[in-house]
Protein backbone atom coordinates (compact mmCIF):
# COMPACT_ATOMS: atom_id res chain seq x y z
CA UNK A 1 0.00 0.00 0.00
CA UNK A 2 2.97 2.28 -0.45
CA UNK A 3 1.79 5.59 -1.81
CA UNK A 4 -1.58 5.52 -0.04
CA UNK A 5 -0.76 8.62 1.99
CA UNK A 6 0.37 10.47 -1.12
CA UNK A 7 -2.81 9.50 -2.97
CA UNK A 8 -4.92 10.52 0.00
CA UNK A 9 -3.13 13.85 0.16
CA UNK A 10 -4.08 14.41 -3.47
CA UNK A 11 -7.71 13.56 -2.75
CA UNK A 12 -7.70 15.92 0.24
CA UNK A 13 -6.36 18.66 -2.05
CA UNK A 14 -9.00 18.04 -4.71
CA UNK A 15 -12.03 17.54 -2.47
CA UNK A 16 -10.76 19.48 0.57
CA UNK A 17 -11.71 16.37 2.53
CA UNK A 18 -11.60 12.58 2.29
CA UNK A 19 -15.15 11.21 2.26
CA UNK A 20 -16.27 7.63 2.77
CA UNK A 21 -16.77 7.41 -1.02
CA UNK A 22 -13.18 8.59 -1.52
CA UNK A 23 -12.02 5.96 0.94
CA UNK A 24 -13.86 3.21 -0.91
CA UNK A 25 -12.31 4.40 -4.17
CA UNK A 26 -8.81 4.42 -2.64
CA UNK A 27 -9.39 0.96 -1.20
CA UNK A 28 -10.12 -0.34 -4.70
CA UNK A 29 -7.09 1.44 -6.13
CA UNK A 30 -4.74 0.04 -3.50
CA UNK A 31 -6.39 -3.38 -3.31
CA UNK A 32 -7.07 -3.09 0.38
CA UNK A 33 -10.14 -2.85 2.61
CA UNK A 34 -12.21 0.28 3.10
CA UNK A 35 -11.66 -0.26 6.82
CA UNK A 36 -7.91 0.04 6.41
CA UNK A 37 -8.22 3.22 4.37
CA UNK A 38 -10.64 4.65 6.95
CA UNK A 39 -8.18 3.86 9.70
CA UNK A 40 -5.44 5.77 7.88
CA UNK A 41 -7.72 8.69 6.97
CA UNK A 42 -8.82 9.16 10.57
CA UNK A 43 -5.34 8.72 12.08
CA UNK A 44 -3.56 11.57 10.33
CA UNK A 45 -4.57 15.20 10.93
CA UNK A 46 -3.73 16.08 7.31
CA UNK A 47 -6.95 14.35 6.25
CA UNK A 48 -10.38 15.62 7.22
CA UNK A 49 -13.82 14.00 6.96
CA UNK A 50 -15.51 17.36 6.38
CA UNK A 51 -14.38 19.91 3.80
CA UNK A 52 -11.82 22.42 5.04
CA UNK A 53 -11.58 25.94 3.66
CA UNK A 54 -9.89 26.79 0.38
CA UNK A 55 -7.04 27.99 2.58
CA UNK A 56 -5.91 26.46 5.84
CA UNK A 57 -4.41 28.99 8.21
CA UNK A 58 -2.32 27.39 10.93
CA UNK A 59 -0.86 28.99 14.02
CA UNK A 60 1.74 27.10 16.01
CA UNK A 61 1.04 26.32 19.65
CA UNK A 62 4.47 24.80 20.40
CA UNK A 63 6.38 25.86 23.49
CA UNK A 64 8.64 28.42 21.81
CA UNK A 65 5.65 30.03 20.11
CA UNK A 66 3.70 30.11 23.39
CA UNK A 67 6.62 31.96 24.95
CA UNK A 68 6.39 34.52 22.13
CA UNK A 69 2.70 35.35 22.37
CA UNK A 70 0.93 32.57 20.42
CA UNK A 71 -2.23 32.66 22.62
CA UNK A 72 -2.70 36.40 22.01
CA UNK A 73 -2.20 35.92 18.26
CA UNK A 74 -4.65 33.00 18.23
CA UNK A 75 -7.31 35.22 19.80
CA UNK A 76 -6.57 37.96 17.27
CA UNK A 77 -6.67 35.49 14.37
CA UNK A 78 -10.07 34.16 15.47
CA UNK A 79 -11.44 37.70 15.60
CA UNK A 80 -9.84 38.93 12.39
CA UNK A 81 -10.49 35.83 10.26
CA UNK A 82 -13.93 35.36 11.78
CA UNK A 83 -13.30 31.64 12.40
CA UNK A 84 -12.86 29.81 15.68
CA UNK A 85 -9.96 27.43 16.24
CA UNK A 86 -10.62 24.24 14.29
CA UNK A 87 -13.51 25.70 12.29
CA UNK A 88 -14.14 26.63 8.66
CA UNK A 89 -15.83 29.83 7.52
CA UNK A 90 -19.42 29.47 6.25
CA UNK A 91 -18.40 30.56 2.75
CA UNK A 92 -15.74 27.84 2.65
CA UNK A 93 -13.04 30.44 2.14
CA UNK A 94 -10.77 29.53 5.01
CA UNK A 95 -10.14 27.33 8.02
CA UNK A 96 -8.18 28.28 11.07
CA UNK A 97 -6.46 25.93 13.49
CA UNK A 98 -3.79 26.07 16.13
CA UNK A 99 -1.31 23.33 15.37
CA UNK A 100 1.36 21.34 17.16
CA UNK A 101 4.96 22.54 16.64
CA UNK A 102 5.34 23.62 13.01
CA UNK A 103 9.14 23.45 13.12
CA UNK A 104 9.57 27.19 12.81
CA UNK A 105 10.50 28.24 16.35
CA UNK A 106 12.91 30.78 14.83
CA UNK A 107 9.94 32.86 13.68
CA UNK A 108 7.64 32.44 16.66
CA UNK A 109 4.70 32.49 16.80
CA UNK A 110 4.79 30.68 13.46
CA UNK A 111 1.99 31.12 10.97
CA UNK A 112 1.34 28.91 7.93
CA UNK A 113 -1.12 29.05 5.05
CA UNK A 114 -1.63 25.76 3.20
CA UNK A 115 1.62 24.33 4.64
CA UNK A 116 3.59 27.41 3.54
CA UNK A 117 5.41 29.22 6.31
CA UNK A 118 4.42 32.90 6.33
CA UNK A 119 6.70 33.99 9.18
CA UNK A 120 5.94 35.23 12.67
CA UNK A 121 2.30 36.05 13.25
CA UNK A 122 1.67 39.74 13.81
CA UNK A 123 -1.53 41.77 13.76
CA UNK A 124 -0.37 43.34 10.48
CA UNK A 125 0.28 39.94 8.86
CA UNK A 126 -3.12 38.61 9.95
CA UNK A 127 -4.84 41.79 8.68
CA UNK A 128 -3.14 41.27 5.34
CA UNK A 129 -4.10 37.59 5.12
CA UNK A 130 -7.71 38.30 6.12
CA UNK A 131 -7.97 40.71 3.22
CA UNK A 132 -5.99 38.73 0.63
CA UNK A 133 -7.03 35.09 1.03
CA UNK A 134 -9.74 34.35 -1.51
Amino acid sequence: MMGLLEAMRQVQEWHRCVTLEDEAFLAGLFKTTAAHVHEVATFYPAFTAKPVGRHRVGLCRGLSCQLKGAPRMAAYAEKKLGVRDGQTSADGRLSFETMECLGACDCAPALTVDDELQGAATEALLDKLAAELK
Binding site: L5, R9, V40, F43, L63, S64, M99, G103
Partner: protein, 425 residues
Protein backbone atom coordinates in the same frame (compact mmCIF):
# COMPACT_ATOMS: atom_id res chain seq x y z
CA UNK B 1 31.26 24.60 10.39
CA UNK B 2 30.56 21.73 8.05
CA UNK B 3 27.02 21.60 6.78
CA UNK B 4 25.92 25.19 7.41
CA UNK B 5 29.13 26.63 5.97
CA UNK B 6 27.57 28.00 2.81
CA UNK B 7 24.09 28.69 4.16
CA UNK B 8 24.48 32.42 3.44
CA UNK B 9 24.98 31.69 -0.26
CA UNK B 10 21.64 32.78 -1.76
CA UNK B 11 21.63 30.19 -4.57
CA UNK B 12 23.00 27.25 -2.61
CA UNK B 13 19.79 25.32 -3.35
CA UNK B 14 20.66 25.29 -7.06
CA UNK B 15 22.78 22.48 -8.42
CA UNK B 16 25.15 24.78 -10.27
CA UNK B 17 26.04 26.80 -7.17
CA UNK B 18 26.22 23.71 -4.98
CA UNK B 19 28.68 22.07 -7.37
CA UNK B 20 30.75 25.24 -7.67
CA UNK B 21 31.20 25.14 -3.90
CA UNK B 22 32.46 21.56 -4.01
CA UNK B 23 29.14 19.77 -3.98
CA UNK B 24 28.95 16.14 -5.22
CA UNK B 25 32.74 15.82 -4.94
CA UNK B 26 32.15 13.66 -1.87
CA UNK B 27 29.86 11.40 -3.90
CA UNK B 28 32.39 11.23 -6.71
CA UNK B 29 35.10 10.22 -4.23
CA UNK B 30 32.81 7.74 -2.51
CA UNK B 31 31.92 6.01 -5.80
CA UNK B 32 35.63 5.54 -6.47
CA UNK B 33 35.94 3.67 -3.17
CA UNK B 34 34.63 0.24 -2.22
CA UNK B 35 31.50 0.29 -0.02
CA UNK B 36 33.47 -1.27 2.83
CA UNK B 37 36.06 1.50 2.58
CA UNK B 38 33.38 4.15 3.04
CA UNK B 39 32.01 2.33 6.08
CA UNK B 40 35.54 2.30 7.46
CA UNK B 41 35.86 6.09 7.00
CA UNK B 42 32.53 6.58 8.74
CA UNK B 43 33.70 4.35 11.57
CA UNK B 44 36.87 6.44 11.93
CA UNK B 45 34.82 9.66 11.85
CA UNK B 46 32.88 8.80 15.02
CA UNK B 47 29.76 10.10 13.32
CA UNK B 48 26.69 9.51 15.47
CA UNK B 49 23.03 9.71 14.60
CA UNK B 50 22.02 13.35 14.88
CA UNK B 51 18.28 12.72 15.02
CA UNK B 52 18.49 12.26 18.75
CA UNK B 53 19.59 8.74 19.57
CA UNK B 54 23.28 9.39 19.01
CA UNK B 55 23.88 5.81 17.89
CA UNK B 56 27.23 5.38 16.10
CA UNK B 57 26.46 5.50 12.35
CA UNK B 58 29.03 2.91 11.29
CA UNK B 59 27.72 0.46 13.89
CA UNK B 60 24.22 0.90 12.46
CA UNK B 61 25.53 0.23 8.96
CA UNK B 62 27.24 -2.87 10.28
CA UNK B 63 23.88 -4.36 11.24
CA UNK B 64 22.62 -4.30 7.64
CA UNK B 65 22.97 -7.96 6.58
CA UNK B 66 25.30 -8.59 3.63
CA UNK B 67 23.63 -9.32 0.27
CA UNK B 68 24.91 -12.91 0.14
CA UNK B 69 23.21 -13.65 3.47
CA UNK B 70 19.97 -11.78 2.91
CA UNK B 71 19.35 -11.30 -0.80
CA UNK B 72 16.82 -8.84 -2.17
CA UNK B 73 16.52 -5.12 -2.07
CA UNK B 74 17.70 -2.84 0.71
CA UNK B 75 16.68 0.76 1.19
CA UNK B 76 17.92 4.03 2.66
CA UNK B 77 15.48 6.53 4.14
CA UNK B 78 16.33 10.12 5.00
CA UNK B 79 14.22 11.15 7.97
CA UNK B 80 13.05 14.75 7.63
CA UNK B 81 9.89 14.37 9.70
CA UNK B 82 11.19 17.00 12.12
CA UNK B 83 8.36 17.48 14.63
CA UNK B 84 9.97 17.77 18.05
CA UNK B 85 8.99 21.14 19.55
CA UNK B 86 12.07 23.34 19.51
CA UNK B 87 13.63 21.70 16.44
CA UNK B 88 13.70 23.40 13.06
CA UNK B 89 17.20 22.89 11.71
CA UNK B 90 16.17 20.24 9.17
CA UNK B 91 13.61 22.65 7.71
CA UNK B 92 16.26 25.35 7.23
CA UNK B 93 18.83 22.83 6.01
CA UNK B 94 16.64 21.14 3.41
CA UNK B 95 15.35 24.44 2.09
CA UNK B 96 18.81 25.97 1.71
CA UNK B 97 20.92 22.95 0.80
CA UNK B 98 18.70 20.15 -0.54
CA UNK B 99 21.54 18.75 -2.67
CA UNK B 100 23.69 18.22 0.41
CA UNK B 101 21.01 15.89 1.77
CA UNK B 102 20.64 14.07 -1.56
CA UNK B 103 24.40 13.63 -1.85
CA UNK B 104 24.56 12.09 1.61
CA UNK B 105 21.59 9.87 0.83
CA UNK B 106 23.29 8.54 -2.30
CA UNK B 107 26.55 7.84 -0.47
CA UNK B 108 24.69 5.85 2.21
CA UNK B 109 22.81 3.98 -0.55
CA UNK B 110 26.06 3.07 -2.28
CA UNK B 111 27.63 1.96 1.01
CA UNK B 112 24.87 -0.54 1.82
CA UNK B 113 24.01 -1.47 -1.76
CA UNK B 114 20.58 0.19 -1.96
CA UNK B 115 19.09 0.94 -5.36
CA UNK B 116 16.18 2.92 -4.00
CA UNK B 117 16.41 5.74 -1.51
CA UNK B 118 13.68 7.86 0.06
CA UNK B 119 13.30 11.10 1.90
CA UNK B 120 10.33 11.27 4.23
CA UNK B 121 9.47 14.90 4.93
CA UNK B 122 6.75 16.20 7.20
CA UNK B 123 3.63 17.40 5.41
CA UNK B 124 3.74 20.88 6.90
CA UNK B 125 7.08 21.61 5.22
CA UNK B 126 5.74 22.99 1.93
CA UNK B 127 8.73 25.03 0.80
CA UNK B 128 11.42 22.55 1.89
CA UNK B 129 9.51 19.80 0.05
CA UNK B 130 9.49 21.87 -3.13
CA UNK B 131 13.21 22.59 -2.72
CA UNK B 132 13.84 18.85 -2.55
CA UNK B 133 11.59 18.17 -5.55
CA UNK B 134 13.51 20.68 -7.66
CA UNK B 135 16.84 19.32 -6.43
CA UNK B 136 15.85 15.74 -7.33
CA UNK B 137 14.84 16.91 -10.82
CA UNK B 138 18.11 18.79 -11.30
CA UNK B 139 20.18 15.89 -10.00
CA UNK B 140 18.37 13.41 -12.24
CA UNK B 141 18.99 15.58 -15.30
CA UNK B 142 22.68 15.79 -14.37
CA UNK B 143 22.88 11.98 -13.99
CA UNK B 144 23.49 12.26 -10.25
CA UNK B 145 20.34 10.24 -9.59
CA UNK B 146 19.19 7.29 -11.69
CA UNK B 147 21.15 4.82 -13.78
CA UNK B 148 24.93 4.73 -13.85
CA UNK B 149 25.52 7.72 -11.58
CA UNK B 150 28.54 9.80 -12.71
CA UNK B 151 29.34 6.97 -15.12
CA UNK B 152 30.54 4.77 -12.26
CA UNK B 153 28.11 1.93 -12.69
CA UNK B 154 26.11 2.64 -9.53
CA UNK B 155 22.37 3.16 -9.98
CA UNK B 156 19.99 4.57 -7.41
CA UNK B 157 16.66 6.31 -7.60
CA UNK B 158 15.33 8.78 -5.06
CA UNK B 159 11.69 9.23 -4.09
CA UNK B 160 10.15 11.84 -1.81
CA UNK B 161 7.28 11.07 0.55
CA UNK B 162 5.27 13.39 2.76
CA UNK B 163 3.96 12.78 6.24
CA UNK B 164 0.39 13.10 7.43
CA UNK B 165 1.03 15.44 10.33
CA UNK B 166 1.80 13.18 13.28
CA UNK B 167 4.78 13.54 15.62
CA UNK B 168 5.11 9.78 16.04
CA UNK B 169 5.95 9.33 12.33
CA UNK B 170 9.41 10.75 13.08
CA UNK B 171 10.31 7.54 14.90
CA UNK B 172 12.03 5.17 12.44
CA UNK B 173 9.69 2.19 12.76
CA UNK B 174 6.58 4.41 12.77
CA UNK B 175 7.91 6.25 9.74
CA UNK B 176 8.23 2.97 7.86
CA UNK B 177 4.63 2.08 8.69
CA UNK B 178 3.57 5.47 7.36
CA UNK B 179 5.55 4.92 4.15
CA UNK B 180 3.81 1.57 3.75
CA UNK B 181 0.45 3.34 3.77
CA UNK B 182 -0.60 2.50 7.30
CA UNK B 183 -1.22 4.46 10.45
CA UNK B 184 2.15 5.15 12.00
CA UNK B 185 2.06 2.88 15.02
CA UNK B 186 5.63 2.12 16.13
CA UNK B 187 6.86 -1.43 15.72
CA UNK B 188 8.29 -3.31 18.65
CA UNK B 189 11.99 -3.90 17.94
CA UNK B 190 13.82 -6.17 17.54
CA UNK B 191 14.02 -6.75 14.64
CA UNK B 192 15.42 -3.30 13.94
CA UNK B 193 14.85 -1.60 10.58
CA UNK B 194 18.34 -2.51 9.34
CA UNK B 195 17.12 -6.13 9.38
CA UNK B 196 13.40 -5.74 8.89
CA UNK B 197 12.56 -2.32 7.48
CA UNK B 198 10.51 -1.03 4.58
CA UNK B 199 8.26 -3.81 3.26
CA UNK B 200 10.30 -6.16 5.43
CA UNK B 201 13.61 -5.50 3.68
CA UNK B 202 16.81 -4.20 5.32
CA UNK B 203 16.45 -0.43 5.62
CA UNK B 204 18.86 2.18 6.87
CA UNK B 205 17.03 5.14 8.38
CA UNK B 206 19.05 8.25 9.16
CA UNK B 207 18.19 11.81 10.07
CA UNK B 208 18.91 14.10 7.12
CA UNK B 209 21.57 15.97 9.13
CA UNK B 210 23.46 12.71 9.69
CA UNK B 211 23.29 11.97 5.95
CA UNK B 212 24.53 15.47 5.11
CA UNK B 213 27.76 14.79 7.01
CA UNK B 214 28.65 11.89 4.69
CA UNK B 215 29.78 13.91 1.65
CA UNK B 216 32.22 15.77 3.88
CA UNK B 217 33.51 12.59 5.47
CA UNK B 218 33.93 11.01 2.02
CA UNK B 219 35.71 14.10 0.68
CA UNK B 220 38.00 14.86 3.61
CA UNK B 221 38.33 11.60 5.47
CA UNK B 222 37.04 10.16 8.71
CA UNK B 223 40.02 11.27 10.76
CA UNK B 224 39.54 14.90 9.81
CA UNK B 225 35.90 14.69 10.92
CA UNK B 226 36.72 12.92 14.19
CA UNK B 227 39.22 15.61 15.16
CA UNK B 228 36.50 18.29 15.09
CA UNK B 229 34.43 16.76 17.87
CA UNK B 230 35.01 14.89 21.12
CA UNK B 231 36.80 11.52 21.33
CA UNK B 232 33.45 9.70 21.31
CA UNK B 233 31.45 11.95 19.01
CA UNK B 234 32.95 13.32 15.82
CA UNK B 235 32.17 16.44 13.86
CA UNK B 236 29.58 19.04 14.63
CA UNK B 237 26.04 19.36 15.93
CA UNK B 238 23.46 21.63 14.36
CA UNK B 239 21.31 23.41 16.91
CA UNK B 240 17.96 25.08 16.58
CA UNK B 241 17.97 27.81 19.22
CA UNK B 242 14.68 29.45 20.21
CA UNK B 243 12.66 30.72 23.15
CA UNK B 244 13.89 33.66 25.19
CA UNK B 245 16.98 34.53 23.12
CA UNK B 246 17.79 37.63 21.09
CA UNK B 247 18.55 35.85 17.80
CA UNK B 248 16.72 32.54 17.40
CA UNK B 249 18.12 30.47 14.54
CA UNK B 250 20.26 27.58 13.38
CA UNK B 251 23.79 27.36 14.78
CA UNK B 252 26.45 24.75 14.10
CA UNK B 253 29.18 23.99 16.64
CA UNK B 254 31.73 21.23 17.15
CA UNK B 255 30.52 18.44 19.44
CA UNK B 256 31.52 19.33 23.00
CA UNK B 257 31.07 23.11 22.67
CA UNK B 258 29.88 24.60 25.99
CA UNK B 259 26.20 25.49 26.16
CA UNK B 260 27.17 29.07 27.05
CA UNK B 261 28.86 29.64 23.67
CA UNK B 262 25.78 28.45 21.80
CA UNK B 263 23.40 30.70 23.75
CA UNK B 264 25.81 33.61 23.32
CA UNK B 265 25.91 33.02 19.56
CA UNK B 266 22.13 33.36 19.63
CA UNK B 267 22.52 36.78 21.26
CA UNK B 268 22.07 35.64 24.86
CA UNK B 269 18.93 35.78 26.97
CA UNK B 270 16.44 38.24 25.49
CA UNK B 271 16.08 41.63 27.16
CA UNK B 272 19.06 40.97 29.42
CA UNK B 273 16.81 39.02 31.79
CA UNK B 274 18.05 36.27 34.09
CA UNK B 275 18.19 32.66 32.92
CA UNK B 276 16.01 30.05 34.59
CA UNK B 277 16.50 26.87 32.56
CA UNK B 278 17.55 25.53 29.18
CA UNK B 279 15.88 22.67 27.33
CA UNK B 280 18.82 21.09 25.46
CA UNK B 281 17.30 18.85 22.80
CA UNK B 282 13.65 19.63 22.18
CA UNK B 283 10.81 19.53 24.70
CA UNK B 284 11.14 15.76 25.21
CA UNK B 285 14.45 16.29 27.00
CA UNK B 286 14.68 17.23 30.71
CA UNK B 287 15.69 20.85 31.37
CA UNK B 288 19.17 21.94 32.40
CA UNK B 289 19.69 24.55 35.13
CA UNK B 290 21.03 28.06 34.76
CA UNK B 291 24.29 26.90 36.35
CA UNK B 292 24.84 24.20 33.69
CA UNK B 293 26.08 26.74 31.14
CA UNK B 294 29.60 25.33 31.08
CA UNK B 295 28.32 21.87 30.15
CA UNK B 296 30.01 20.55 26.99
CA UNK B 297 27.24 19.83 24.50
CA UNK B 298 27.65 16.29 23.21
CA UNK B 299 25.58 13.13 23.61
CA UNK B 300 27.49 11.73 26.58
CA UNK B 301 28.02 14.94 28.59
CA UNK B 302 24.36 15.96 28.39
CA UNK B 303 23.39 12.42 29.34
CA UNK B 304 25.65 12.75 32.39
CA UNK B 305 23.42 15.65 33.52
CA UNK B 306 20.32 13.49 33.27
CA UNK B 307 19.13 14.90 29.99
CA UNK B 308 19.63 14.29 26.27
CA UNK B 309 21.20 16.17 23.40
CA UNK B 310 18.26 15.01 21.29
CA UNK B 311 18.09 16.71 17.93
CA UNK B 312 19.68 19.88 19.31
CA UNK B 313 16.49 21.87 19.81
CA UNK B 314 17.63 24.33 22.46
CA UNK B 315 14.86 26.33 24.14
CA UNK B 316 16.00 29.06 26.48
CA UNK B 317 13.65 29.88 29.38
CA UNK B 318 14.18 33.13 31.27
CA UNK B 319 13.32 33.95 34.88
CA UNK B 320 9.72 34.81 33.97
CA UNK B 321 8.94 31.26 32.77
CA UNK B 322 6.30 29.38 34.78
CA UNK B 323 7.71 25.85 34.83
CA UNK B 324 4.41 24.15 35.68
CA UNK B 325 2.87 25.80 32.61
CA UNK B 326 5.93 24.80 30.56
CA UNK B 327 5.61 21.15 31.53
CA UNK B 328 1.83 21.30 31.03
CA UNK B 329 2.41 22.45 27.44
CA UNK B 330 4.91 19.63 26.91
CA UNK B 331 2.56 16.98 28.32
CA UNK B 332 -0.37 18.44 26.38
CA UNK B 333 1.70 17.99 23.21
CA UNK B 334 2.63 14.41 24.08
CA UNK B 335 -0.91 13.44 24.98
CA UNK B 336 -2.15 14.93 21.71
CA UNK B 337 0.54 13.05 19.77
CA UNK B 338 0.33 9.75 21.67
CA UNK B 339 -0.61 7.24 18.96
CA UNK B 340 -2.80 5.25 21.33
CA UNK B 341 -1.12 1.90 20.87
CA UNK B 342 0.13 1.47 24.46
CA UNK B 343 -2.30 2.07 27.31
CA UNK B 344 0.17 3.54 29.85
CA UNK B 345 1.14 6.31 27.41
CA UNK B 346 -2.34 6.94 26.01
CA UNK B 347 -3.90 7.20 29.49
CA UNK B 348 -0.95 8.48 31.52
CA UNK B 349 -0.35 11.45 29.27
CA UNK B 350 -3.99 12.57 29.46
CA UNK B 351 -4.31 12.02 33.21
CA UNK B 352 -1.20 14.02 34.02
CA UNK B 353 -2.25 16.74 31.59
CA UNK B 354 -5.58 17.06 33.45
CA UNK B 355 -3.87 17.23 36.85
CA UNK B 356 -1.50 19.95 35.63
CA UNK B 357 -4.40 21.89 34.11
CA UNK B 358 -6.33 21.73 37.34
CA UNK B 359 -3.31 22.91 39.34
CA UNK B 360 -2.82 25.89 37.02
CA UNK B 361 -6.51 26.77 37.30
CA UNK B 362 -6.00 27.23 41.03
CA UNK B 363 -7.62 23.99 42.13
CA UNK B 364 -4.41 22.17 43.06
CA UNK B 365 -4.52 19.56 45.81
CA UNK B 366 -1.75 18.76 48.29
CA UNK B 367 -1.29 15.26 46.88
CA UNK B 368 -0.89 16.39 43.27
CA UNK B 369 2.93 16.37 42.97
CA UNK B 370 3.14 12.89 44.49
CA UNK B 371 0.33 11.70 42.25
CA UNK B 372 2.06 13.10 39.15
CA UNK B 373 5.24 11.35 40.23
CA UNK B 374 3.38 8.06 40.66
CA UNK B 375 1.64 8.19 37.28
CA UNK B 376 4.92 9.23 35.62
CA UNK B 377 6.56 6.15 37.09
CA UNK B 378 3.81 3.95 35.73
CA UNK B 379 4.33 5.13 32.15
CA UNK B 380 8.11 5.06 31.76
CA UNK B 381 9.50 1.75 30.57
CA UNK B 382 6.07 0.29 29.88
CA UNK B 383 5.54 1.35 26.30
CA UNK B 384 6.80 0.26 22.88
CA UNK B 385 8.40 3.57 21.94
CA UNK B 386 10.09 6.47 23.66
CA UNK B 387 7.08 8.77 23.57
CA UNK B 388 5.68 7.08 26.66
CA UNK B 389 9.07 7.13 28.37
CA UNK B 390 9.23 10.84 27.65
CA UNK B 391 5.97 11.54 29.49
CA UNK B 392 7.44 10.01 32.63
CA UNK B 393 11.02 11.23 32.31
CA UNK B 394 10.10 14.84 31.54
CA UNK B 395 7.45 15.09 34.27
CA UNK B 396 9.78 13.64 36.89
CA UNK B 397 12.59 15.98 35.84
CA UNK B 398 10.45 19.10 36.21
CA UNK B 399 9.05 17.89 39.54
CA UNK B 400 12.55 17.29 40.82
CA UNK B 401 14.07 20.52 39.52
CA UNK B 402 11.29 22.95 40.39
CA UNK B 403 9.49 21.39 43.40
CA UNK B 404 8.63 24.75 44.93
CA UNK B 405 6.65 25.80 41.83
CA UNK B 406 4.56 22.64 41.97
CA UNK B 407 4.18 22.90 45.75
CA UNK B 408 2.98 26.50 45.45
CA UNK B 409 0.14 25.39 43.18
CA UNK B 410 -0.57 22.12 44.96
CA UNK B 411 -0.93 23.52 48.41
CA UNK B 412 -2.51 26.80 47.48
CA UNK B 413 -5.99 26.32 48.90
CA UNK B 414 -5.01 24.51 52.06
CA UNK B 415 -2.04 26.68 52.95
CA UNK B 416 -4.01 29.88 52.51
CA UNK B 417 -6.69 28.45 54.78
CA UNK B 418 -4.12 27.41 57.36
CA UNK B 419 -2.44 30.83 57.30
CA UNK B 420 -5.78 32.51 57.81
CA UNK B 421 -6.62 30.15 60.63
CA UNK B 422 -3.29 30.91 62.32
CA UNK B 423 -3.71 34.67 61.82
CA UNK B 424 -7.16 34.54 63.36
CA UNK B 425 -5.77 32.69 66.33
Amino acid sequence: MIITRHFDEPKLHELETYRKLGGYEGLSKALAMKPAEITEEVRKSNLRGLGGAGFPAAAKWGTVPPADKVPGPRYVVGNCDESEPGCFRDRVHVERAPHQVLEGLLIAAYAIGAKDAFIFIRGEYGRPHRALQTAVKEARAARLIGDDILGRGFSCDVMLMRGGGTYISGLDTALLESMEGKKSWPRQPPPFPTNYGLMGFPTLVHNVATLAMLPHIAARGGEWFAKIGTPKSGGTMIYSVSGHVEKPGVYEFPMGTPLRAIIEAAGGVAGGRGLKAVIPGGTSTPPLSADDLDLPMDFDSVRGKGSFLGAGGIIVLDETADMVEVVRLIIEFLSHESCGQCTPCREGSVWTERILERMLEGAGRPGDPANLERVAGNVTGRTICALGDTVGIVLKAYLKKFPEEFAALAGRNESVMRQEATANG
